[in-house]
Symmetry: none
Subunit: 206 residues, 4 copies
Amino acid sequence: MQSDGRPIGLKRNPIIEEARRRQIIDAAIETVAAVGYAQASLSRIAQHARISKSVISYHFAGKDDLLEQVVTQIYDDSWKFIEAALETEDTASGKLRAYIRSNLDYLHAHRSRALAVGDIVRGHRAPDGTPRFAATTDESVVDLLTAILRQGLADGEFRDLDPQVVAVTVGQALIGVLGLWVMNPAVDLAACTTELITLFDRATRK
Amino acid sequence: MQSDGRPIGLKRNPIIEEARRRQIIDAAIETVAAVGYAQASLSRIAQHARISKSVISYHFAGKDDLLEQVVTQIYDDSWKFIEAALETEDTASGKLRAYIRSNLDYLHAHRSRALAVGDIVRGHRAPDGTPRFAATTDESVVDLLTAILRQGLADGEFRDLDPQVVAVTVGQALIGVLGLWVMNPAVDLAACTTELITLFDRATRK
Amino acid sequence: MQSDGRPIGLKRNPIIEEARRRQIIDAAIETVAAVGYAQASLSRIAQHARISKSVISYHFAGKDDLLEQVVTQIYDDSWKFIEAALETEDTASGKLRAYIRSNLDYLHAHRSRALAVGDIVRGHRAPDGTPRFAATTDESVVDLLTAILRQGLADGEFRDLDPQVVAVTVGQALIGVLGLWVMNPAVDLAACTTELITLFDRATRK
Amino acid sequence: MQSDGRPIGLKRNPIIEEARRRQIIDAAIETVAAVGYAQASLSRIAQHARISKSVISYHFAGKDDLLEQVVTQIYDDSWKFIEAALETEDTASGKLRAYIRSNLDYLHAHRSRALAVGDIVRGHRAPDGTPRFAATTDESVVDLLTAILRQGLADGEFRDLDPQVVAVTVGQALIGVLGLWVMNPAVDLAACTTELITLFDRATRK
DNA sequence: AATGAATGAGTTTTCATTCAT
DNA sequence: TATGAATGAAAACTCATTCAT
C-alpha cells in the first residue's frame, strides 16, 4: 500500500515527483537487466538508484505498481519511436522493413529496456503463479505485425502466408538477434538488421 | 549441500533412488511451467510432488543441483528425439526442415518442459546475478543450426546468407511459435510447423 | 548479509541505532552465558531481547558480525579497566599483581561476559570448522603478560623463568578460578584472588 | 531412541559390537577436536568414521548417549594412566609433580582427546541450555588435586595455601600449556612440563 | 548387524511492506 | 517529501531421529 504519509491535497510537487518516479523506473530497468527478474529485489533497485528503499514505497503503491509502470513506460516509449518510422512507409513490405529496422535500432539504443521488459512480463506473477501481464505486451507487438501482414495480403504484396505465425516469427527473430548481441557485444547488429530484412523480404514476397 | 544423511558409498538402491529423482525433477518442471521460475520454491516443488521438502535435500545437493539436472535431463531427452529425425535426412535443407519439425513435435508433446527450460536457463543465477547456465544451452542449439546452414552453403543449396543470424532466427522462431501456442492452446501448432518450414525454406533457398 | 533494508548512507539515527546494537549485543552475551554457544541461536537471542528475529538482521550483517562485535566489545571494555589498573604500578611484580586483581575484579562484575567470551571464541567457526577468532584474543592477553614478565626479568625482579609458559599459566589460572566461581557462586572470589596473587608472587620471585 | 531392529537376545556379537563402538567413539573425538563441538554433527562423525549415519543410531541410543560414552571413555582412560604414575610417589609434592607430568604426557599422546573432552563437557546441553555433564568432569580432576594438596598440608610439606584454588590453578595451567602447544606445535611441551613442575614446586613449598 | 530413505523441527537469511517521524 | 526502524512470512538448508528392509 502507498504510504499514508503521502500528501493528498495540493502540496505535491509534480516535477520532483515525476523526476523521482523516472529515476526509480530507470533503476528498476537497469537492475532487472543486470541481475534478472528473480534477483531484482526492491532493495537492489533502491541501491542502484542510491536512494532509500522506502522512497520506492512512497512513490509506488508496491512492487506490482512499480513493475507495471516500468512495462508501460517501455512500451509507450518504444511505440512512439516505431510509430514514427512506420508512418514514413505506405506499403506493407515497407512497413515490415521499417518495423524491423526501427525496432532493432530502438533496442540497440536501449539495451537494458529490451532485456528487462521480457523478463518482467514473463516473471512477474501473483504469489500463486498467475501472470500479472499476460496478453498486454507481446501480443500488442504481434497484433501490429499481424495487421501489417494482413494489409500486405489484402494488397496482394505477399505470398499466401499465415499472418500470425509470420508475425510471431518476426517478433521472436528480433528478440533472438538482440539476445545474440547482448551475450556477445562484438556481434554486428547493423549487419544482422540487414540480414533479417532480407530474410523476411524473401520469406514473404510472392 | 546435499543432506548429510545421504549415503556416500555406492550401495544406495538405484531403483528407488532413480524413481525419486525423476519424480522430483518432473515436479520441478511442472512447477516452473505453472508458476514461473521466480515463484518455483523448493516448498512448492515438494508440495507438487506430494513429498516433504527435505526429501529434495536428500536426493539433490541443493536447488542449484536440482535445476541443473532438470535442464540436463530436458536437453538430453530432446536431443535424442531431434537427432533421430536429423539422421533421416541428407541434404542441409532436409535437415533444416527435420530440425524444425522434430523440435516442435517434441515441444508439442512436452509442453511444460518447453516452458520450464527457458525460464530456468534465463532465471537461475547466482545471488549476485551471474547466470548459472549461459552458454551451455541456447548456444548448442544455435551451433547445431549454424553447422547445418554452413553445410548448405558449402553444398550450394542455400543463398548467400549469414549462418549465425539465420540460426538464431530459426531458434527464436521456434520459441516464439511455441510461446504462442502455450499462451493460447487453441493455436494450431501443426499448421504453424508447416508455415515455419515454408518460411525458412523460402528464406534460405537460392 | 546485513538486511537490505538497512540504510547505506550516514544519516541513520545514531542514538536509537546504538541503543539497539547494545541491547542486542547484551542479549547475545546473556544468551551464550546461559545456554552455551552451541545453543545460542539468533531466535533465542531475539527472544531474550524481546525483539523480532529480523531486528538482528537489520542491525548486524549476520551472526558472524554480531558475535564479532560481542567479542570486540568485551575485549575493549575489559581492557580499559585493566589498563587503568596497570598504570598505577611501576614494577613488573606490581603490574602482575594488578593484572590478576583487575582481571578478576572485572570478571567478577561481569560474570556473563566472562562466560560468553570464551565460549564464543572457542565455538564460533566457519562451517568447515576453521576458527573465526583464533589469535586475536587469547594471544593478546598472553602477549601482555609475557611483556610484563620480560620487563621483570630485565629488571632482575624475577627468577629465571620462561615468560611465555608463566604467562599462559597465569592467564589460564584466572580462567580456572573464574570457572570455579561460575559453577559454584558460593566460592569466595576475593579469597581466590588473594591466593592467586600470593601463588604467582612466590612462583616468580627470586 | 535405539533402533528397534537392535537384537535383544543372544544373537549379538559382542566383539564386533565393541569394535564398532570404539570406532565411532574415536571418530567422534577426532571430529570434535577438529571442528569443535558446535560443528560436530552426527553426519560429520559418520563421515569421519566412513560409515553410514544410521550405524551410529544402531550402536548408540542417540547423540547424548554417544557423547556421554566419549567423555566416560576419555576420563577412564586417562585416569588409568595418571593413577599408575601417582602410585610411584609417596609424598604430596611428589604426587603433585607426578600428576603434572603424567597428565601432560597423556595429553601429549592423545591431543584430540584433550581438545574434545573440554569442548563436549562445556558444549553439550539439553535443548533448553541445561548442562548435561556439569560436575562429573572437571571436578574430579580438581578433587584429586585438592586431596593431594590437603595431604601435603597435613604432612607439613606445603605452605599455608588454599587447596582448592591451587588445585584449580594447576588444572587450568595444564590446559593452558596444552592449548599453547595445540595452537603452535612448535612449542616444546617437554620444556613446558619442567617449567610447570618448577613453578608449582616453588608456589607450594614452605 | 547394517543402512537407505524419509521427515519435522529448527537454523540463518532475505524480502516486501508498514509505520512513526 | 523522505526515510530509519521494525516485522512477519517465506526462502534454502541442516540436523537428529525413525522406520522398513
